[in-house]
Symmetry: C2
């Protein structure tokens, strides 16, 4: 039976630290502030927004919503970002993505318009360069990748000299997580859809970080005793039985197969996802402190 | 007996292509031009400069030297870079590093002052972000990492679905090479000084790219039949017997042990190092074409 790496404990520890830091900032007249930019009214944003507002209130970060219409023109959106860049009362900016279809081809231009100083979810090229080079000078790594490291840190899992397999090479999770693990002196292997032997590679690893986004893709034959599994994926499992009925979110790991074998695993829900909003707030507070 | 992956053949193919492209550019009135910025007179720059000039002449790229004194102030160097950024006749800029000791702490500021459009050796944050995200929109990957890919391409070594081990995690070779291999659908493992089992990991790999910079560090027990070894290192071997006498450059691979076992290997000298200047010129020509 594995140790459950509960995100709540990690988030609580971060939040406690943040309350102290935001109190200190407010004493000096600075109200750490996050602006969330939302285009259109995709209902899937709602729960994220609610979560961010609640977390902000908990830790003393003001959360503002800049709601723009679905049909916002590129030039209007860029102007809004310029305004947020210039607004000294705003320390962090989160742009909800994916963008509406009409703007999607301009994603790079849009993301890069944001000042790296306010880029609390690592969407600018400067933040990408910072993660890649391991320098924390400007920008921030994406919150989800950072949340994985916060979990490892909180539970005292030392990466130095360990082997880590990252499944997935996305720009928001797989690649930055690989760089952060490398920065912690792990030997890192990045697997992806073209990897023919992911299961065998995983069995050799000390730490498995899976971000494939494929339900039940990490089965019992990917793991062995003693391993740590960080399950970053948030998949919908139509057959999952929960207290609220049938259907719910689940990770990549086939939990009933993997959990009895490994040493430790993050549950989904209740694992990495529970930490990301606290990391977001931490980045805002860091930006405000700078 | 391994196939020798000779850099000269690769460079010749690149150069032939470049001569055609520079001729086309010159016909349209554009003389593709590289400015090399050198501070001080470290004699180890001399052979590099000679090589770059010769290669430039061969392929139709003009090479200008901007020689600055060893004691150049930060502000002066930044102004020089601004001038080169503004000079439409200059398409690529190479800043010889390491910088003099007094400027070294400002390396990031200095590197980032260069326009990413002219950053033909991948020293700006924008280039780093481009390599990391796999987008070729702006900037260039470092020439040495690119040279490794040119060798794989020239000799028809397909990376897709193969496993690659990169030894070294430097910003100029290890990390960018890992990203370029990942972009070619290899499954990539990055080993470094904190990796306890590099030899075992190497034996499992299809492709080994070694950039440790440690003479004879890749011994016979790192390899097995069928592998491809790309040796990026340029080490001095005091005991090496060459046609010119005793002492010469050598790679990480203990050549007499490794070469009889593997399928293919780049010699040192005559491997990766022979391709980098052609890659540099290719980047200048690409910058001029844009």
């Amino acid at each position: 039976m594995a140790q459950l790496l509960l995100g709540k404990n990690v988030a609580d520890a971060i939040n406690t630290d943040l309350r102290r830091r935001t109190a200190a900032l407010r004493e000096k007249g600075t109200v750490p502030t996050l602006a969330i930019v939302r285009l259109g009214d995709d209902p899937s944003d709602e729960s994220y927004l609610r979560g961010a507002r609640k977390r902000g209130q908990e830790v003393g970060v003001e959360v503002r919503l800049l709601q723009l219409p679905e049909g916002t023109q590129l030039s209007q959106l860029l102007r809004s970002l310029d305004d947020l860049n210039a607004d000294d009362a705003v320390h962090g900016v989160l742009l909800l993505r994916p963008l509406p279809a009409a703007l999607r081809e301009h994603t790079n231009t849009i993301c890069d318009r944001l000042s790296p100083r306010k880029d609390v979810d690592g969407m600018t090229a400067a933040s990408a360069a910072g993660v890649f080079t391991g320098s924390a000078e400007v920008g921030f790594p994406p919150c989800t990748a950072t949340a994985c490291m916060e979990i490892l840190d909180y539970y005292g899992i030392d990466c130095r000299g360990k082997s880590a397999v990252v499944i997935g090479r996305s720009q928001v999770v797989g690649k930055p997580a690989a760089m952060l693990l490398l920065g912690r002196d792990a030997t890192v292997t990045v697997c992806h859809t073209k990897t023919p032997n992911t299961a065998a590679l995983c069995r050799q690893a000390d730490i498995i970080l899976t971000a494939a986004g494929v339900l039940n893709s990490l089965t019992g034959d990917f793991v062995r005793p003693g391993q740590v599994v960080i399950d970053v994926a948030i998949n919908y499992d139509a057959g999952k039985v929960t207290a609220r009925g049938v259907g719910g979110i689940a990770g990549d790991a086939c939990f009933q197969e993997v959990e009895p074998i490994v040493a430790a695993i993050t549950p989904v829900p209740g694992g990495v996802g529970s930490v990301t909003t606290s990391v977001l707030m931490k980045h805002v507070v860091e930006a405000a402190e700078k």
